[in-house]
């Protein structure tokens, strides 16, 4: 053993000596022989490797000391919680002393009320009051709970079933507030990465819902179908992963900010071509448009959902399959605080859509349910609407009359209704449309809304250029109309959070409860008020 070890050591020493004395290991530097430079190079290599393996130099981290943080905290001065109030914002809000029906009392005087969206005149209807009284006595005022925790009262379920039956959809869901309907429904169906194409004139509820959903939002020009088509074309070309992305178009039936009506047949044609789903907000058109008040879908004769006979695919699987024919409109929402003269909102659509919202819509799950007497009021209102469709006709007549200038010299004597009552509603529209040109008799204001819209929207003909001064002028006109002529009209107010850039204007909510004399009085009052204010301004 020892001998083999010494042999190995000898061999190793021999090798080393060879390495040192080998001719290529010899170098001549400045005439001096240096042996074994390989050895030196090997050493250098080791040193280089050692240096490389060291960490690079970093300046040491010096966290802030307690004293420094104290100083920073003392120095920091926050802004005040609210900015100082400017002078222009001091407009007065009219305070009503009686119910907000077609006639109301403001500061002791009776005025004609065009500021409440009481389209069918159901406010103060006896049947509604009776059913609400019974409901109050049975259930109390509030429901005291969320829907999932004993807050579901049988009147809620009845109301949902009634709405679904009225609209011809499988199911519907009730929300406790009109504003929260849209901004809870949208985030339930659209998450980060999905694409939503929306009109630029939608109201704040929808804008907030879009923001909360964190999806990609694309705006198109207000009520402009060409712009919509171009946008859809662009998006379809851009996104290649379109199969798993959900894509929506969000429109309102009657826009709150301008009174325009969305052309539903065009939208459906585009939606089917580009494979988008449609969300429709029918707050101002439910109970108003269509021959029996079922809204924009009835007006354009579009079936909301088509349930063909045959297999209904079980929708409890991982893939959602709707009924056999894809719905024309996927989701319809509406606030009930307009035509139905109650509060709250609802959403309707296919069963899958509604079931999903019952667990994932935050305004439904985490909030108390609608007070039961308001649900009863909604059911009664729909019953009344179904039994008396003449209310809708009356509303349409009123709108046409208001837009026409009844006080032109030719027709002052003749009663509008007598002459034209035998003509159908379509004829009335035509006449109203012709006479709309006469509305230029109101100096400085023009009608910006659709002739069928129950909300007449007047804008300044010559805008002053800034929203603030426009609003000031319109406020003055409204003020003058109220104080001197006894007509309550309102301007459209914008919150600082609202992104809508459409022009501000005066809104007139026409009701089926208004009489002809009310309408005449109003157009007269508006003429005089705008003359007074605008001439003074010029």
């Amino acid at each position: 053993m020892a001998s083999s070890f010494t042999n190995m050591a000898d061999t190793a020493i021999e090798w080393l000596t060879m390495a040192f004395e080998a001719p290529f290991a010899q170098a001549v530097v400045f005439g001096v022989h240096i042996g074994g430079h390989l050895f030196v190079e090997g050493l250098l290599l080791v040193v280089i490797l050692f240096l490389l393996s060291q960490k690079s130099y970093k300046p040491p981290k010096r966290p802030l000391t307690k004293k420094e943080i104290d100083e920073l905290c003392d120095e920091w001065v926050p802004e005040s919680l609210i900015p100082p109030l400017s002078e222009e914002k001091q407009y007065e809000i009219p305070v009503l002393e009686s119910a907000a029906g077609p006639h109301t009392v403001v500061e002791g005087k009776e005025v004609v009320n065009f500021a409440s969206a009481n389209y069918l005149g159901l406010m103060g209807h006896e049947k509604i009051l009776d059913s609400c009284t019974a409901s109050l006595e049975k259930y109390g005022v509030g429901s005291c709970s969320a829907r999932l925790c004993y807050g579901t009262i049988d009147v809620h379920l009845d109301c949902e079933a009634r709405i679904a039956k009225f609209l011809g959809t499988p199911d519907s869901i009730l929300y406790s507030y009109g504003l929260s309907t849209m901004f809870s429904a949208i985030p339930a169906f659209s998450k980060k990465g999905d694409i939503i194409v929306v009109d630029e004139g939608v109201h704040w509820g929808i804008q907030n819902g879009l923001y909360l959903s964190r999806s990609t939002i694309v705006y198109f020009k207000h009520n402009d179908m060409e712009s919509l088509q171009n946008t859809l074309e662009k998006i379809t070309q851009e996104s290649k992963r379109a199969k798993r992305l959900r894509r929506y178009i969000v429109v309102e039936a009657v826009y709150q900010n301008s009174g325009q009506i969305a052309p539903l047949d065009e939208i459906i044609r585009l939606k089917e071509k580009y494979r988008f789903r449609v969300l429709l907000d029918e707050s101002n058109s439910f109970g108003v448009l269509g021959s029996s008040g079922r809204g924009l879908t009835e007006h354009y004769r579009v079936p909301v959902s088509v349930i063909s006979a045959g297999l209904l695919i079980d929708s409890s699987c991982g893939y959602c399959s709707l009924v056999l024919q894809v719905d024309k409109i996927d989701i319809i929402t509406a606030a009930m605080g307009h035509a139905l003269a109650t509060e709250g909102g609802f959403c309707t659509g296919s069963e899958r859509v509604i079931e999903h919202q019952r667990l994932s819509s935050s305004g439904y799950v985490f909030s108390a349910s609608l007070p039961p007497y308001l649900a009863t009021a909604a059911v009664t209102a729909i019953d009344i609407l179904e039994k008396s469709p003449e209310l809708i006709k009356k509303l349409k007549e009123n709108v046409a009359v208001l837009c026409a200038d009844v006080f032109s010299s030719d027709v002052e004597e003749v009663s509008f209704r007598d002459t034209f009552s035998n003509l159908g509603v379509e004829a009335l529209h035509l006449i109203g449309a012709c006479w709309r040109k006469r509305l230029s008799d109101i100096p400085g204001l023009s009608v910006a809304s659709d002739p069928l819209s129950p909300m007449v929207y007047l804008v300044l003909k010559n805008s002053t250029g800034s929203v603030k001064s426009d609003l000031q002028l319109l406020e003055d006109i409204a003020d003058c109309a109220l104080k001197e002529h006894g007509v309550l009209v309102v301007t459209s107010k914008r919150s600082i959070l609202d992104k809508c850039r459409l022009p501000v204007g005066i809104r007139l909510f026409v009701s089926a409860g208004h009489t002809e004399s009310d309408l005449c009085k109003t157009s007269k009052a508006l003429k005089k008020a705008s003359e007074a204010v605008l001439s003074g301004h010029n």
Binding site: C73, P78, S98, M123, G140, S143, L212, R246, G337, E343
Partner: protein, 482 residues
Amino acid sequence: MIAIPYLTALTTYFSYGLLFAFGQIRDLFRKVLDWCRSNNLQGYAPICLGLEDFYVRRLYLRIQDCFGRPIASAPDAWFDVVERQSNDNNKTLKRTEKITRCLNLGSYNYLGFAAADEYCTPRAIETLKKFSPSTCSTRVDGGTLTLHNELEEFVAKFVGKPAAVVFGMGYVTNSAILPVLIGKGGLIISDSLNHNSIVNGARGSGATIRVFQHNTPSHLEEVLREQIAEGQPRTHRPWKKIIVVVEGIYSMEGELCKLPEIVAICKKYKAYTYLDEAHSIGAVGKSGRGVCELLGVDTADVDIMMGTFTKSFGSCGGYIAGSKELIQYLKYTCPAHLYATSISPPAAQQIISSIKVILGEDGSSRGAQKLACIRENSNFFRSELQKMGFEVLGDNDSPVMPIMLYNPAKIPAFSRECLKQNVAVVTVAFPATPLLLARARICISASHTKEDLVKALEVISRVGDLVGIKYFPAEPKKEHQE
């Protein structure tokens, strides 16, 4: 803080794992079966993606009958629960004609105003006849009645602030106020267990959000110091303003907020305080004025006080109370004020009447009786439950008491067994609570009598033994040892 026993944690994980596994197997079968049938979405993306509602389809639907039970009467101390039946294994539930009279331990009816009340209801009906159920317009258009102004004055007086503004729904109040007060460049520090409406409002505002540990003022101080020193993310500019959002009573824990310490810290670091008193207004405090009165905090120290009327006042809606300038500013800018229908007149009248009863201005002492009653009831019930060995959360004087269940199978067991014995309880699971910490939440009301509570305790004790949720040793009853 809840400390889950080790064995229970293991069994809970195991249960969830089993449910998850079975759910995946069923999904697999469904996928295979659906391959044969044609998919008729015709090129549209599915409206609900596959995994998003896995929890709903495979876990929640099995116990769907424990949630959303409809009732057929007012949510008073005793109410009628409508029975539902299912033909397809709980996927859809249909109402039947049968109703059962049950003891109500689930509704937020703290002061007993839920049912028709002798003082409030006639006045509400009168208002209904005068002003009709809705104003159909926003507050700034034609929706402000004299009633609304009266209501706001009352609320401001009751809460102890100079002015108040009232909205028609509590959820919308939070979601629409926070974006107005703070925007990009601001910081919101909120408690980790805050309600969904606050989270939504904070997200909608665009400000940066930081969370501090639940009810821990020292951690809040740490977070504040760190954030003020660092400034805005990436640019390190100083923050424009900081708002700290806390709740009076946390509805899932039943705990009171440590308000005096938190207010002191906010004052020291110049942050604004926002207090959400949804559950505590009207229910705690000597005269029902909420958490500030109970803990001795001056209302002038809290910048923004928010609350809802659903719980203690038997109505609907929410309010914000603050300084006069703040309320005026909100009235001009808040979207809920400018765009949403005003609060329904009978509901407003109910709030005014119930505040009058609480303050004793209706000429009787019912208000003081109710407040004393709810305090006694809550303390009695909580101490009895703890003696029996249940794990009950929450502080003394708080009318909300969650009983821990932990295991997912105990949720439907507890709920169904209690219903069989005519006691209606609310069980809460994921996602309202963390996955492991499922619980049954009991809400005590001033309209519960002593007999009702004793009956409830009996039933809960029996069911607790059956289901096995007495995690602590019961205190031995001294009388039985003689």
